[in-house]
């Protein structure tokens, strides 16, 4: 498929998806519309934020191997910026989806006790603050790097190395806010302290999988000359490590709640283990942990493009399933996947791909102005 053909197909997909998205609101109801909306913007947002985290991580630890690959997560992280309007728009979903916005919910002392955090003005302020912090971080981390392509100014490396640790703090706080506000507060009576870390694990994994896929695609296209299997191996190693991290955090959260058996904690799991949702948990265990873990064990699997690409797709789909399993049970029925979900997928996925292609076409595919690029290219295991 040539470039123009691909663009046409993706645009057509997005347009059809958009029609379906609008139809969802008017035909299938606004609850279905908003649940899909927040689910899909969260899916794309977590990929973008995960990539921004990868970029910052490289600067914090002064990694060399990832410098030739850095432009890919940098461009992918613009998805977080793309999703910022979607997030602000989703504030309209508060009265439809979030029970704590209704005054009668405050009869429950648990929800009333959380009113200091869960109230509309503060919620909106946090959403705006998160978007603002991401935009500033993106400008410093990514736009500066892109500008360096022309300016070749090595002072960027010094400045960004000073900012990157600050971003890690911003990231840690904002990702927790996203987890608590947009996912956890769908069921406002629920308590889980580790939930932010759980969402972080999925976010980082999604960013890694998307970056790996994009890197492998660009390598196959010959856009990343000099990038070797050794570089890709590290992405595979990260993917391997963080599937275990995700499983560890996910299971730790479940185990403690299962042991303590407190009503304000277990009801969340009870809803998500009954009926068809129980099967989804099984699928999560298999595809979010066992399959990537076992496939990525052999050394060759971490650098062989075909195998790694397949696993990256599996991990992305598993992240999708993970979010779906957390968000959709609030509709109070079994797992649904009808034409509304399909049109949202058609709208968000080709739309994001179009955006990524557009961003990649705006400059070099590698940070050519970075003085340590050569050192990065010479990296061998």
């Amino acid at each position: 498929m040539n470039e123009r053909h691909a663009t046409t197909t993706l645009s057509a997909g997005t347009a059809v998806g958009l029609a379906g998205v609008l139809a969802t609101g008017f035909v299938a109801g606004w609850e279905r519309f908003w649940i899909n909306w927040i689910f899909w913007f969260l899916f794309v947002l977590t990929i973008g934020l995960g990539c921004l985290f990868i970029v910052a991580l490289e600067h914090v630890v002064s990694a060399r191997w990832s410098v030739p690959l850095r432009r890919v997560p940098e461009r992918l992280s613009s998805l977080a910026i793309l999703m910022a309007p979607a997030l602000l728009l989703a504030l309209l979903s508060l009265p439809v989806l979030y029970p704590w916005t209704r005054p009668e919910a405050h009869a429950d002392p648990v929800i009333a006790g959380k009113a200091g955090w869960l109230n509309v003005p503060f919620f909106a302020a946090r959403a705006v603050a998160c978007v603002g912090l991401w935009a500033i971080s993106y400008r410093i981390l990514v736009s500066g790097s892109v500008r360096q392509d022309q300016e070749r100014n090595p002072r960027f490396n010094v400045r960004v190395r000073r900012f990157a640790p600050v971003f890690l703090v911003i990231f840690g706080i904002t990702i927790t806010v996203v987890a608590f506000d947009w996912i956890s507060s769908l069921e406002p009576a629920w308590y889980s302290d580790v939930f932010g870390v759980y969402i972080f694990a999925g976010t980082f994994l999604a960013g890694l999988a998307a970056s790996t896929l994009a890197v492998l695609y660009l390598m196959a296209k010959g856009k990343l000359p000099g990038v070797q299997a050794d570089h890709v191996y590290n992405l595979g190693g990260f993917l391997f490590a963080f599937t275990v991290f995700w499983a560890y955090i996910g299971f730790a959260q479940y185990l403690l709640m299962w042991y303590a058996n407190m009503p304000e904690e277990v009801f969340w799991y009870k809803e998500r283990l009954q009926g068809g949702w129980g099967l989804l948990v099984l699928a999560l265990a298999v595809f979010h942990f066992f399959v990537p873990f076992l496939v990525l064990i052999p050394r060759i699997a971490k650098s062989e493009p075909k195998r790694l690409a397949r696993i990256a797709v599996v991990v992305l789909l598993a992240h999708w399933l993970d979010l779906y399993w957390m968000v959709f049970p609030v509709l109070g029925q079994g797992p649904v996947f009808g034409w509304p979900e399909l049109s949202f997928a058609l709208f968000f996925i080709p739309g994001s791909l179009l955006w990524f292609r557009h961003m990649m076409s705006r400059g070099a595919a590698m940070p050519v102005g970075d003085p340590i690029l050569r050192e990065g290219l010479e990296f061998r295991l």
């Binding site: 185990l255 299962w258 042991y259 052999p298």
Partner: protein, 381 residues
């Protein structure tokens, strides 16, 4: 041909020269090649054609065995051998097995990778590696790179190997000889080793014995002994009379246990056993006897318990004639008040249990002093 050569070494100035020499030497010599370098050289394993390390496979298999054996052990202990309700969960709660399975997997995997690498693959302990006597080794640990043609236990064509190395650009050639086999261990040496081990064990044993005997037993932890509670007979300022223990309300009638009005042995002898001699009473007596009395008097009541008494006094032989002639009331009196070194067991046994023990003791006495007439007529010969 030489049967004593371990390997032929050629020294090179740089890693690049070494890497270039490998294919040319490989083409001329069929024996296995090995390299010794002051630091890891990228890609040298592939160039030398080294075998893939079996450590990965070993670790995987042992990790799996670790997980499965932990699971089997937990299933057996928690589900079959000693089912115990913990925190109101079912006996076979797989959730609680997972952390232990995880830890045992890691333990097995770590031990396998560490010990397997050292002992199985590198054959440690191995004190006389031929390379330790090579004159080139000091150079290799500094700034030279050595390529070795190894004999692998077969005859090595030293001249051909040396010629191939020289042709590839080696500056110094060294033939490393197989070391002479170790002299067999002398009986004298063995005697000394075993004597030292024997004497050490003896000294350690004696020290432990005397240490335990001579030093008074100290209580290592007093947590539960040292409680903010009122002990019997303790003073208490809360009540006006200063006593911690209270008198029952006036007119209180004791129901269980019934009052025991016996004051002296003579009174006691007059008391009869209030319980009937039925199978269930004997069973109750046996259980109480085995729990409380058998520790000192022995399961057969013959004063020979499995535990030798820790303090000098020898427990009474309860089946001896003297005790056989005691009345039931007298035996009960001894249980209530103790005798010689024996303390009172009134608080360890209920009234019914005490009388049941008396019945059971009578049965033991009879059994150990049986007459011919006790055997049923049909069985006598």
């Amino acid at each position: 041909m030489s049967n004593t050569a371990f390997s032929v070494l050629g020294l090179f100035d740089s890693s690049q020269q070494l890497m270039e020499a490998i294919p040319s030497v490989k083409a001329k010599v069929s024996a296995r090649l090995n390299a010794y370098t002051p630091y890891p050289v990228h890609g040298i394993g592939k160039a030398l054609g080294l075998r893939k390390s079996p450590v990965g496979g070993m670790v995987f298999v042992m990790g799996l065995i670790g997980a499965l054996s932990a699971m089997a052990f937990e299933l057996w202990t928690a589900g079959i051998d000693y089912p115990l309700v913990t925190a109101g969960k079912p006996y076979l709660s797989w959730q609680s097995f997972v952390p232990i399975m995880f830890e045992v997997t890691v333990l097995f995997a770590c031990f396998t990778s560490g010990l397997g690498m050292l002992f199985l693959l590198n054959r440690l302990p191995f004190f006389r590696h031929p390379m330790l006597r090579s004159k080139s080794m000091p150079f290799v640990t500094r700034d030279k790179f050595a390529l070795a043609v190894e004999a692998e236990g077969q005859a090595l064509d030293v001249d051909a190997a040396a010629a191939a190395l020289r042709a590839a650009g080696a500056q110094m050639i060294e033939v490393v000889e197989q070391p002479a086999p170790l002299a067999p261990v002398s009986p004298n040496f063995l005697m000394r080793v075993f004597s030292v081990i024997g004497i050490s064990c003896l000294v350690a044993g004696c020290l432990t014995y005397w240490g335990v005997k001579l030093f008074p037993v100290t209580i290592p932890m007093v947590h539960m002994l040292d409680q903010p509670r009122l002990d019997p007979q303790q003073e208490n300022s809360y009540f006006g009379d200063g006593f911690g223990m209270r008198m029952p309300v006036a007119g209180t009638v004791a129901r269980i246990p019934l009052p025991y009005a016996v004051k002296s042995q003579n009174d006691a002898s007059a008391l009869g056993n209030p319980l009937p001699r039925t199978e269930s009473v004997l069973k109750q007596g046996r259980q109480a006897y085995d729990t409380v009395c058998a520790v000192c008097h022995g399961l057969l009541a013959n004063g020979e318990p499995s535990l030798t008494s820790a303090y000098g006094a020898k427990p009474a032989n309860l089946v001896a004639e003297k005790i056989r002639n005691y009345s039931d009331g007298m035996i009960h009196f001894v249980i209530m008040n103790g005798k010689n070194a024996m303390p009172s067991y009134a608080s360890d046994l209920t009234q019914d249990e005490r009388w049941a023990v008396v019945h059971y003791l009578r049965a033991l006495q009879r059994a150990l002093n049986a007459k011919d007439t006790d055997i049923p007529k049909e069985s006598r010969k």
